[in-house]
């Protein structure tokens, strides 16, 4: 860890999907690069790098952020959830099941971002209605599906939440 001539580093301790990770990072390290390159969590994708497309969405302390434009240093002490954190490796998360059931993906590149955005919404106090889902997801771009199956997938999970049924 001794790097006398390297660039200055910032110590960060981040809870990533329930695992505490401590690293020294450059101040300019972006959370998307930290996750993908330092930790090998390549489920989070990167595309527009302008906070417009939403594919790099992860949750920082439950809030959706664009990991492409979020300094790793700002995640120090926070809990970060990525798409890898949705499932335990055996059972899919209800949102993932619903995306499969509703054919809510084709190429799949935008899917991690949509899943994390949807999770942030469904983790709120009230299960959202269709209008709230459409509004919340309007900052995510999908080039394959035409959005309807995605909205329906999220709506189904919200309906199950509202009904209190297990799912």
């Amino acid at each position: 860890m001794t790097e006398p001539s390297g660039p200055p580093r910032v110590a960060v301790t981040v809870d990533v999907n329930g695992v505490s990770v401590s690293r020294q990072v450059e101040p300019r390290s972006l959370l998307a690069d930290f996750l993908r390159e330092d930790l090998g969590l390549t489920g989070t994708k990167v595309s527009c790098e302008l906070q417009v497309c939403g594919v790099c969405t992860v949750l920082v302390d439950g809030r959706p952020v664009s990991a492409c434009t979020f300094l790793t240093a700002d995640a120090d002490g926070a809990a970060v959830t990525t798409v890898e954190g949705l499932s335990d490796g055996r059972t899919l998360h209800p949102l993932q099941e619903s995306f499969v059931d509703n054919f809510a993906l084709q190429c799949g590149f935008c899917t991690p971002g949509f899943l994390m955005m949807a999770k942030a919404l469904l983790d709120g106090d009230e299960p959202p209605d269709r209008a709230a889902i459409v509004e919340h997801l309007e900052g995510n771009i999908c080039r394959c599906t035409g959005y309807q199956p995605i909205v329906e997938a999220v709506e189904q999970v919200a309906e199950r939440q509202r009904g209190g049924a297990h799912g």
């Binding site: 660039p7 200055p8 910032v10 450059e26 101040p27 300019r28 972006l30 690069d33 790098e49 302008l50 906070q51 417009v52 939403g54 969405t57 809030r63 959706p64 952020v65 664009s66 434009t69 979020f70 300094l71 240093a73 700002d74 955005m117 942030a120 919404l121 919340h136 309007e138 900052g139 995510n140």
Partner: protein
């Protein structure tokens, strides 16, 4: 794409933050504008002065008949804030619809104003509300109206050694307000705010996004507001969201719609 290298400074008091600022050490909060500008090569500061640990720059309170919003408050928190939702619902609703949910969770109100993005919903509504900002610098504090602070496209009246401390919005009992925008891309084509305080005979209209800066006007009654006259008064910038002629047309349509919406808003 990687950002250019920089040092990260994290002061915990306003005085320390002010001491760190210079031409090459710039204020940093949510990064929704600054990091994009740095990645695009438009900006290459030596240091970012992170303001998120400075308590004097945070918080929302009612003070002296006005709402005081700390510069580092994020849009999502302002949209959900109970005092703002009760006292200034038009402002809370605008905050709930700016950018997208990620931008609202990262971006701050102070950063939005300091970047003076020409299509900022925040600046348009604040100008209509006759809001002002408090700036702190080595020589002390000064208060500047948002209409003067947002001086040009991507240009705010802030000296490099100054910080925007808070935004101050006068509160009016019985205020009614509506903000409507037309948006097909990530930023609006036109945004229109209309406000009415009948008891005080105070009426305001602001139009943003069409030109280099939002513009606001006062009226003696709602009847004085002529949508075609407003469309003639704005100074549209032709861009990907429309030509000058198109933006004037959209402005007139949205002034009419905002007035119609205001009629349905109860005090």
């Amino acid at each position: 794409m990687t950002l250019p290298p920089f040092a990260l400074v994290r002061p915990t008091t306003l005085d320390d933050a002010l001491r760190e600022l210079s031409e090459d050490a710039v204020p940093y909060c949510g990064g929704t504008e600054l990091l994009l500008a740095m990645r695009a090569g438009l900006h290459r500061p030596d240091a970012l002065v992170d303001l998120k640990r400075v308590p004097e720059l945070a918080g929302v309170r009612v003070d002296d008949g006005g709402l005081v919003i700390g510069a580092t408050e994020r849009h999502a928190d302002l949209a959900a804030h109970p005092v703002i939702r009760e006292r200034l619902p038009v402002f809370a609703r605008m905050e709930r619809h700016i950018g997208n949910a990620r931008v609202r969770n990262q971006g701050s109100i102070g950063g939005n104003l300091c970047f003076a993005e020409p299509k900022s919903d925040v600046a348009t509504v604040l100008m209509a509300l006759e809001a002002s900002v408090t700036l702190a610098g080595p020589a002390g504090r000064r208060v500047v109206a948002v209409e003067e602070f947002v001086a040009g496209p991507y240009y705010a009246e802030r000296e490099p050694d100054e910080l925007l401390v808070d935004v101050r919005i006068p509160l009016r009992d019985g205020l009614r307000g509506a903000y409507l925008k037309f948006q097909t891309m990530e930023r609006p084509t036109a945004g229109v705010a209309v406000l009415a305080d009948e008891a005080a005979g105070w009426y305001r209209l602001a139009v943003g996004a069409v030109g280099e800066v939002p513009l606001a006007w006062s009226f003696g009654s709602l009847g004085e507001i002529d949508a075609d006259d407003i469309a003639a008064r704005v100074d549209p910038t032709p861009d990907l969201s429309g030509s000058e002629e198109y933006k004037r047309h959209v402005t007139a349509v949205y002034v009419r719609r905002a007035l119609a919406k205001l009629e349905r808003v109860s005090p």
